[in-house]
Symmetry: C2
Subunit: 344 residues, 2 copies
């Protein structure tokens, strides 16, 4: 099997995606075709032996083959005509904007390119923290209370200190700040409003237990181990960045069986059917024995490979369970009947 | 100003889009550039004087100039190289799949093409009837009670007869059926499940008053007149189809001023900021003096031009108020610092 890995793009997490892509080289046993999307959203075919972070930071990738996308796949220009880049399936490995907001999913669906990754609708729900809350509540998964603040408004805050301020969209802790008292508020809001016109506030619970679970659905659900991520206060962007290059298995959290089951049940409620076709990681809080969703990562760093015993096997299985949309039959029934009525 | 109209695409409402596009020719005073997306999602530049429904149903459009999309716009191949199709803004006039589900919005955003139409996130909310309900409730607009049914499950129905069965996604009444008693249920479900694996059921209220309001936000809100659509039982696809070719002003519904204001207030709550950049039509029910959202049409048939006094003026104003996303600065800060630490 030939797997294309799509990475980079116009995202604040562009660099994380580059690091994720390099990490996959060590854990995927299939032949990999690397397709890089640069900050300007131009596509390049990167030879697998040239996959180093420096190739991108230096701009050397521009010497590689430029690609364009159209019906059926990615193509490179040739002297005469063009050639299609051959692969069986693509992994969307773009984190943040373009990859997790749904743009690339839409593009791949529109052009009929099979891919592992969240579909557009799933992205819209997980990328927007308000929609994630509404959705989680609807499917019966607990979330922390929240309040939205809009840029330029003077809304009173009804959540007690300490709380977390988050841009409504984006992932990877970008623009997020903990506010312990009023004097820290203005700065935290300034930072968060740089990334979005709406921010979400939720209580900050010191020392809360966090558990990460990744998985996907094929003929049944495949779950990773549950990890309790190491953190100081909370994981900031720099630490998460380093985290994303991981390819080694981590230690399993020691959990009561009932709690483990509850975390898995919450994952299933969130996943099925919205995230079909994707391998996602859900991050949960456990407070007084109750499970709460923190966030859904529909394109987790390095695909959370370090949480699986047989990551390569999971990917190969998932390829056979990608969702398909109902077919639209080409027809001009109404137009033809009007034409006929007109006697033309 | 040169306005490109994008229409057609792989949608059950493809034909409606063709009719909508033809209707716009009569009401837009600007020069129009017609870009057709066929059922196979190939793009063509259609000369404005050849815009007749027969050109598409006969397949003659294939003689027109084939286009491809990439960074910056749509391009046609020339003997040597290619030429960009010039226009100032594009109107997304694709109804249903591709146009209202967010795929084309994503494509246009990804390739940096300015357009009038709902953004991807707005599409995901309005295209999925469950998400529309959750969103409307969140912003303080009433919705009818509902229940979801999943294909293959044997869920008990808790909503009393008569009720309406709707595929979870899609618009324009496709796949929708009224169920008055149990013996009509199986057939209605069969039809709806042909279009989606999930269907939504809501009470059918005979003789309910329906009011349609279109509008958009520029420096302030511009509203159309409020129309009370004519209907028998409820508007089916055939009638809606004919409806979409309308270019004549309709009669304003006679409403109490307070009710008119309440409908406009509900529209504002739904529109701002999610639908910025789009001219949408919201369809409301009024039951015992209370306003309920029925549905949001983010790409209404023929852009609801027949509801506006000065449709051309509204479009020209809206062009100056299209939303912009925050810029992602190209940088390789993390990768460079790692490179530096390695002493390379």
């Amino acid at each position: 099997m030939k797997i294309a890995v799509l990475f980079g793009a116009q995202s604040f997490e562009h660099e994380i995606s580059v690091v994720s892509a390099i990490a996959l080289k060590k854990v995927l046993k299939s032949e990999i075709v690397y397709i890089f999307c640069d900050y300007e959203r131009n596509f390049y075919l990167i030879p697998t032996d040239k996959i180093t972070s420096k190739r991108f930071s230096s701009g050397e990738y521009k010497k590689d083959k430029a690609l364009h996308v159209k019906q059926g796949g990615f193509y490179a220009k040739k002297m005469l005509g063009e050639e299609q880049i051959s692969f069986d399936v693509m992994i969307n490995l773009v984190h943040g904007r373009d990859g997790e907001d749904g743009k690339l999913s839409a593009l791949l669906d529109f052009f009929g390119i099979p891919y592992i990754g969240p579909r557009m609708e799933a992205c819209s729900i997980s990328y927007n923290k308000l929609f994630t809350k509404l959705y989680a509540k609807e499917v019966g998964v607990n979330v922390l209370p929240y309040q939205l603040l809009h840029k330029g408004s003077n809304e009173a805050i009804s959540i007690a200190y300490p709380f977390i301020v988050k841009p409504l969209r984006l992932g990877s802790s970008i623009g997020i700040g903990i506010v312990k008292e009023e004097k820290e508020l203005a700065y935290a809001l300034d930072v968060a409003f740089e990334f979005d016109d709406t921010v979400l506030i939720e209580p900050f619970i010191s020392g809360v237990k966090e558990y990460n679970l990744a998985g996907c659905k094929t003929d049944s659900f495949t779950f990773s181990i549950i990890e309790e991520p190491q953190k100081e206060a909370f994981l900031d962007f720099d630490k998460k960045y380093l985290d994303f290059s991981r390819t080694k298995r981590v230690n399993e959290a020691s959990l009561e069986v009932t709690l483990e089951k509850e975390i898995q049940t919450s994952f299933i409620k969130l996943y099925d059917p919205l995230f079909l076709g994707a391998l996602i990681r859900c991050d949960f809080f456990v407070i007084d024995g109750v499970v709460y969703l923190n966030e859904i990562n529909p394109v987790p760093g390095s695909m959370a490979n370090y949480l699986f015993d047989d990551f390569d096997g999971v990917i190969k299985r998932l390829v056979n369970y990608l969702p398909h949309t109902t077919t639209v039959t080409k027809e001009y029934r109404y137009i033809n009947s009007i034409q006929a009525a007109k006697g033309k």
